[in-house]
């Protein structure tokens, strides 16, 4: 089986670029296809969220399958919140059979924040278990019970990490734990607090983790000062430095989006200079049309 | 809905309307020596003396209403002068809780009130009672009495 494009890019030591799309809240595949079209050619892979922020959407697998048909490379997100180990493993196998080659193992946002706050969560296993499971399936060809699989899903395994959540001193240890469990690449939470990110990267380098795993830094262009303030205050695990908010506030409303993109580009520039960083992951939330612009402006175009 | 009933019943007149208002006074004896000094108005007073107001549990306050009180007044010593340091704070919290229960029941939490008074200030105690009686004039007598 061929390796996926993302794996190839990273394997060749090239600076990778991924972006994120959210499946629609409905059964219309057009939406996802339209979004994907905006990204085609300017990213290495497209991350498809799995009922992101616990809001019920079209499943990640099916959205990914549509992308595969479109000739794009998806990264299927999979959360442990909604499925027990039976469903998870079966979906992994199914996804692989549909041509999906990358997956991102997550525990998922808590259901109380989403559209079904009364739902029962599953959390049979956690994201690290999931990484371990996928790795075992891939490398040993066995499922969790040890049963030998006729075809092993050769997934390129990703996971998320948030250098901005607490406790900071533990974040790198947790990264190490994921690495030990078998993760191939890491996507981080959006980077605004560069100092803290650099510190985290340094710790990762010191532990030799950057040798073992590709780290893709998350970036999200700010649309407005309001968005910046909201994210800083309400979204746990995201820190936005005060001066960045001030900067957003300092420009006229109509120029805010442009300023946000400018900040984003500066961030990417700074990130590219960090030793051990393998790429970026652009999370342009409901702003997919700007991804191509960012990639181009950042000088990361064309993609290999 | 229950509140409507209360009003209906108290507006019906009859026995409930013609009797004197009944007020039960729970008091710690450092706040007020005795309710005897408060008697004599156009109302009935039932005093319950306590070594510390924090002895008044939820049920006592409710039972006072069962026993026919139209209003319940809890007199406690001033903030920071409780003999047992925290007794009056605890009483306050309990009164708040029972007010909520009374609201749920439909009697209305406003019929239960706590006041801090200094020992010997009988004028203040009397004012509190008179004010309560005046308010009872607005609310009507308790339909649960």
């Amino acid at each position: 089986m061929s390796r996926g494009k993302l794996e190839q890019t990273l394997g060749e030591g090239k600076f990778a670029v991924t972006a994120e799309v959210g499946p629609p809240r409905g059964a219309n595949a057009e939406v996802i296809l339209k979004k994907a079209a905006l990204l085609k050619g300017c990213v290495d892979a497209v991350n498809v969220t799995d009922n992101q922020t616990a809001i019920v959407r079209m499943s990640s697998i099916s959205a990914c399958a549509h992308l595969v048909q479109l000739g794009m490379e998806p990264v299927m997100q999979m959360v442990t919140r909604d499925r027990n180990r039976i469903a998870l493993q079966s979906d992994i196998m199914g996804a692989y059979s549909l041509g999906i080659r990358n997956m991102l193992c997550l525990s998922g946002d808590h259901q109380t924040f989403g559209s079904e706050p009364g739902a029962m969560n599953v959390h049979d296993i956690d994201s690290v278990h999931l990484i371990h499971t996928v790795k075992t399936m891939r490398d040993e060809g066995r499922d969790m019970s040890g049963y030998e699989l006729n075809v092993a899903p050769r997934m390129f395994i990703g996971a998320a990490e948030n250098p901005f959540a607490d406790p900071f001193e533990y974040r790198v240890i947790r990264l190490a734990k994921k690495v030990a469990a078998g993760v191939d690449f890491i996507q981080t939470q959006c980077v605004y607090d560069m100092a803290r990110f650099k510190e985290w990267m340094k710790q990762a380098r010191d532990r030799g983790l950057t040798e073992k795993v590709y780290i893709l830094a998350g970036v999200t262009p700010l649309k407005s000062a309001r968005m910046a303030k909201y994210m800083a205050a309400k979204v746990a695990g995201i820190t936005i430095p005060e001066q960045m908010i001030t900067r957003m506030e300092g420009v006229a409303k109509e120029h805010a989006a442009a300023e946000g993109i400018k900040i984003c580009l500066e961030t990417i520039q700074e990130l590219r200079e960090i030793p051990g960083l393998s790429g970026i992951h652009i999370m342009a939330i409901e702003w997919e049309e700007k991804v191509a612009e960012i990639v181009k402006a950042a000088g990361l175009f064309p993609r290999p | 809905m229950v509140m409507e009933k209360v009003h209906r019943m108290s507006n019906k007149g009859g026995a409930a309307h013609t009797r004197k208002p009944r007020i039960t006074v729970f008091h710690c004896f450092t706040a007020l020596e005795d309710t005897a000094s408060l008697e004599g108005g156009d109302y009935e007073i039932q005093g319950i003396k306590m070594p510390c107001s924090s002895i008044s549990r939820e049920v006592f306050l409710l039972r006072a209403f069962e026993a026919g009180a139209d209003a319940v007044v809890v007199l406690v010593c001033p903030v920071n002068s409780c003999r047992y340091v925290q007794g009056n704070i605890r009483t306050e919290k309990r009164v708040t809780r029972v007010k909520k229960i009374l609201d749920e029941i439909g009697i209305g939490g406003h019929r239960l009130n706590m006041f801090n008074i200094v020992q010997g200030d009988e004028a203040a105690a009397r004012r509190i009672i008179e004010q309560t009686v005046a308010e009872l004039g607005e609310w009507g007598l308790s339909a649960a009495a």
């Binding site: - | 510390c52 549990r57 039972r63 069962e66 919290k93």
Partner: protein
């Protein structure tokens, strides 16, 4: 030796929870009481046990009547949430004379009929006004005590309320020539009397009459209260009449052994009137214990009157003056005045007003009384709280109007049983075997002023303060 007299007590439970001395202050927020070590469950005296079940029916805070204040709940609670306080009801129970402790102890005696016994030493002040400035003497080695309490030796508490013949005449053969005068004896130097206030319903008074009859003493009762219901106890009733009213109660007087007539002008006439109705009648004269009492006593001792019933205030004080003397001094004065006139043996003295404790009986006798009359303790025995609400027309908190006759009788009998036994304690310690011989035995008492002077005088000099100081 007279037939051994004793009063049998029957435990008679109170109808209302008596006002206890203690209250616990506990912070429920710190504990819900489900600790296995819970001091409430482990209370040696089980005082909280009833509270547990009591809880759900309680309508107001329950104080701890039976708490013995051992402080183990306070000191052992795992959360340290307990504190003990004096029950505010107890604080306001009674007054400076009828102290809460006296009322409480009276309740307990009426309940059980046993004398108050406790451990540790005396808890009260060194000395206080009134009876509390007298100590009764004891005997030791040289003049032994009497072992009367447990019945090893008989101590006779009987006293007479009838006149004694002045001299006996004998026939030449030595036989008695004078007529044997009729005798009115009571087996203990305590008579009962109708209280001046209280819920004096028919049953309450009947209970007093029944109790008097049961222990063999007398109840002084207003003649107006008499109804045929009282007839079973007639022998133990002393109707109280005035010179204006006695004629109305001729039938009652005919059936009575003794009648009390109020002192006042025209008494002589009334006395003969009474004797005319019932020649065998013993006569008591009721008079206030005022400054004229001693003089009047001397006067009345010379008449046909058997007994003087002198009543002081409810607080054991002289009446009719702004600066009243205490009962102990009044008794002594009346007694000594009669002794001085050598007519003490011609009359019997019953004092009442403020007799609150058994020790007051003994001390009154020592001061010179033949007997004492008790009133308020009878009400207290029936659970009265001396709140005097009844005098303002308010409801009685212990529903005295609803007592049952037997219950009431038993409570009063129990109280008298306890008092009788306490009198025996004091007499035994004094080494006195006859209540009659205790009368006026001032030498068997020690008075505060004398002790201060005799014992402290040589050490400290002269007292610079008056009274107890």
């Amino acid at each position: 030796m007279p037939k051994k007299y004793s009063i049998h007590a029957h435990k008679t439970d109170p109808r209302f929870p008596p006002i206890g001395k203690y209250a616990t202050v506990e912070f429920r927020e710190d504990c819900a009481g489900s600790c296995r070590q819970c001091v409430k469950k482990r209370c040696v005296f089980h005082i909280f046990r009833d509270n547990f079940t009591h809880w759900s029916t309680m309508s107001e805070p329950e104080y701890l009547y039976t708490c013995k204040s051992c402080y183990r709940c306070v000191e052992e609670c795992t959360k340290g949430i307990f504190s003990l306080a004096i029950n505010p009801e107890y604080r306001t129970l009674g007054d400076d004379y009828w102290k809460a402790g006296i009322i409480n102890s009276t309740w307990a005696q009426a309940h059980t009929g046993s004398i108050p016994v406790s451990g540790a030493g005396y808890r009260g002040p060194f000395a206080a006004e009134g009876f509390d400035s007298i100590w009764t003497d004891m005997s030791e080695i040289v003049r032994p005590t009497r072992d009367g309490i447990h019945g090893r030796e008989y101590i006779n508490t009987m006293v007479e309320l009838s006149k004694r013949p002045m001299r006996l005449r004998f026939n030449p053969d030595g036989t008695l020539a004078s007529e044997e005068a009729p005798v009115l004896e009571i087996p203990l130097p305590v008579v009962l009397q109708q209280p001046a206030f209280g819920v004096l319903s028919k049953t309450v008074l009947l209970a007093m009459a029944a109790a008097a009859s049961s222990v063999g003493t007398l109840l002084f009762i207003k003649a107006e209260e008499y109804t045929p219901f009282f007839s079973p106890y007639a022998a133990h009733l002393v109707p109280c009449v005035t010179k204006d009213t006695y004629a109305r109660y001729a039938d009652l007087i005919k059936g009575s052994r003794m009648v009390e007539i109020a002192y006042g002008p025209g008494l002589d006439e009334a006395l003969s009137g009474l004797k005319a109705i019932n020649p065998d009648l013993f006569i008591a004269v009721g008079l206030p214990l005022d400054s004229a009492a001693a003089g009047r006593a001397g006067e009345l001792a010379r008449t046909c009157v058997d007994t003087l019933h002198l009543t002081g205030s409810d607080y054991g004080r002289e009446v009719g003056t702004d600066n009243p003397r205490h009962l102990k001094d009044m008794i002594r004065d009346v007694h000594l005045a009669l002794v001085g006139n050598r007519i003490r043996h011609r009359i019997n003295l019953v004092f009442s007003g403020g007799i609150a404790l058994a020790e007051h009986v003994a001390k009154s006798l020592i001061c010179g009384a033949d007997a004492v009359g008790i009133d308020l303790p009878l009400l207290i025995a029936l659970e009265c709280r001396l709140c005097k609400r009844c005098t303002q027309g308010k409801r009685c908190p212990v529903k005295l109007e609803a007592v049952e006759l037997d219950w009431g009788k038993n409570r009063i009998v129990n109280l008298l049983a306890a008092w009788h036994n306490q009198l025996l304690e004091v007499m035994g310690a004094c080494g006195i075997r006859e209540a009659r011989r205790m009368r006026g035995e001032l030498g068997r008492s020690m008075w505060f002023d004398d002790l201060e002077r005799d014992s402290f005088g040589p050490v400290f000099g002269k007292r610079k303060v008056t009274g107890i100081g």
